[in-house]
Amino acid sequence: MVVDGLGKRFDMAAPRINGALRDVIAGLFARLAGKKPDLDARSVWALRDVSFRATAGEVIGLVGGNGAGKSTLLKLLARITVPSEGQAVVSGRLGSLLEVGTGFHPDLTGRENIYLSGAFLGMRRQEVRRRFDEIVEFAGIGKFLDEPVKRYSSGMYVRLAFSVGIHLETEVLVVDEILAVGDAEFQRRCFDKVRSLRGTGGRTIFMVTHNLAALRQMCHRGLLLSHGKLLADGPIDQIIDRYLAQLARGASEDAVSTTSFDVLSATVTARSGPDDVIKTFDPVCMKVRVRARVPISEPGIKLTVLGADRIPLCAIDSRDFLKIGPVDSGGTFELSADIESLPLLPGGYQLRLALNGGESALDEDAPGSFAFDVVESAVYGGRFIDSSFGVFGLRSKVAVHQETS
């Protein structure tokens, strides 16, 4: 696969999505009245000047924040949309699913859906039949094979969908859902399966997931995208580290903004001793100052502590504790949460903020995160501990009662 200068532009001024004839007529009158539609000013490059080569058998992870262009790149490679410039040449058949379970119909049985999915990928019945047993076996749906998939548990549904996706000839695979719903045992089998496809020739698989730890396990190469540009291409570990460094830099900026709120500050401080030194089991205070950019009737703030690879460890949501009154546009408030004892073991952590607003669909994550460190200390009284102890400390009383032999 050779990708050369691929780019995709979206024209905001083009006739509105699903517009009505009325709008077009209105537009005609506007033009007659001498108003020229302003085309260039409102076009947005979702992806620009992306070039790379990939050989069959590579498993490539796409890394980047929201709006970085990951899904646009996948859609272009999957031929779901057409590029605005550049080109990509793919040898071999190109079949692609952007989401496992595409084409599944809830009223059809598992068996029927397997064949239907195959047809959507351009496969013949014999080809599907050859893989059929493997698919069923891998999904572990056993006697539910001839039941409509609407009766499946969400875990079973996703298992079948992923199994179809990985066994049929799909080049592009998005694995977010499987990692969210599948159980640990099934996830492990997915990792093994993807790794077994690595380097065996045949297909190039692209993966996107917010679970960076999973990407490290499944991929060997990563592409870092930011604002539609390809920033880096290399071994997955390097790419993810670079992405994390980029996120941390973003966090050090003074104010972070989304469309509905600005985060003026977010801090985690110790309540005893010097306040910038946080030790395991210390009482701490998390403080956030937020300014609303739109009126919000019932704001709620969720604070999530993220560990390595941005895995959420624990969270609190203000709405479970109190009600914040309506806030006007420009209104500022500070939320503080006293935590009796911070159970985190020494290491680097990040605080992620999300604002929710009662009535509307307002639900936004602030970009980047606010980093804080838990310093090395004698957690259990004695020696220093390492990463083999995990991320959480356990306040414990340990006793022994020795029985004489």
């Binding site: 979206f10 699903n18 009505a20 071999g92 989401e99």
Partner: protein
């Protein structure tokens, strides 16, 4: 299988080989639609009969006297018309919304989009087949024996199918941009049924045209007039083919089909962006 796919800007070139490569998708889409109808409804496949037969009974009760003798029992006459018209109307009605209804698929997986309207057409052809079996029963009941002219039914059905697909390609592609299609279509189809000689013989219009010096072929500009003309000549005694009408209808259908295909292909590659 070694092939090369080039992804580049601009509308995709029409690739018949690709459409052929995906042919089983058509089979599965039709099979899915029929299977779902069969699974979810009590009467299942009998619903294919419901629309033309109930229509034939109602129209026979209401219109038979007003329209006067048509040469064969009116219920049989109107059933032949409704059978072909229902196939056309169902294909156009549902097919024109097929791209909108398939938006989730279009956004997530690549396949030749033409299969969405095409599957609707084939499903309505299957319904037509079931209805045609009932037609045999009705002809036996009314003691109308088919002649060798019955062979004309095949071109009639082909003409209807191509005409329906032509409309589907135009309207489904337009319907992605303009929601108006969804709202206007049912009205348009209903009006079209009354303007097309479905419930009454084409003779009524042709006779009027002859007496006013209007050339007959003009009636064929409505492509379904030619298709119905062929279909009735195939099945009912005393009905002849009007060559100028049918020829015009064939030309109109070809025009619709070619321009529809052109417009559909132009829009096809941008579908995922606008849906």
């Amino acid at each position: 299988m070694l092939s090369r796919t080039v992804i580049r800007p601009g509308p995709r070139a029409l690739s018949l080989s690709e459409i052929w490569a995906f042919r089983e998708l058509l089979y599965f889409m039709v099979w899915r639609d029929l299977m779902l109808r069969y699974k979810q409804t009590l009467l299942g496949v009998l619903w294919a009969l419901f629309q033309p037969t109930s229509g034939a009974i109602i129209f026979a009760l209401v219109f038979a006297r007003g329209i006067g003798p048509v040469g064969v029992p009116y219920p049989l006459f109107v059933y032949t018309g409704l059978l072909l018209w229902t196939m056309f109307a169902r294909a156009v009605g549902e097919g024109s919304l097929s791209l909108n209804n398939g938006a989730h698929l279009i956004a997530k997986v690549y396949f030749p989009r033409i299969y969405l309207p095409m599957a609707v057409l084939v499903t309505s052809l299957v319904d037509f087949g079931v209805g045609a079996l009932f037609l045999v029963v009705a002809m036996w009941f009314f003691h109308v024996a088919p002649t060798v002219a019955v062979l004309l039914a095949l071109p009639a059905v082909v003409l209807t199918a191509l005409c329906a697909l032509g409309f589907e390609m135009w309207l489904s592609a337009l319907g992605v941009r303009y929601r108006d299609v969804r709202y206007v279509l049912p009205f348009f189809l209903q009006a079209a049924m009354f303007l097309t000689p479905v419930l009454y013989p084409a003779r009524t219009q042709l006779g009027w045209m002859a007496s006013h010096g209007v050339p007959q072929w003009l009636l064929g500009l409505n492509p379904m007039v030619g298709a119905l003309d062929l279909f009735r000549a195939a099945l009912l005694p005393g009905f002849d083919v009007s060559i100028p009408v049918v020829a015009t209808s064939v030309a109109m259908t070809a025009f619709l089909f070619v321009t529809g295909g052109w417009y559909f292909q132009r829009v096809e590659s941008t579908l995922a962006d606008v849906l």
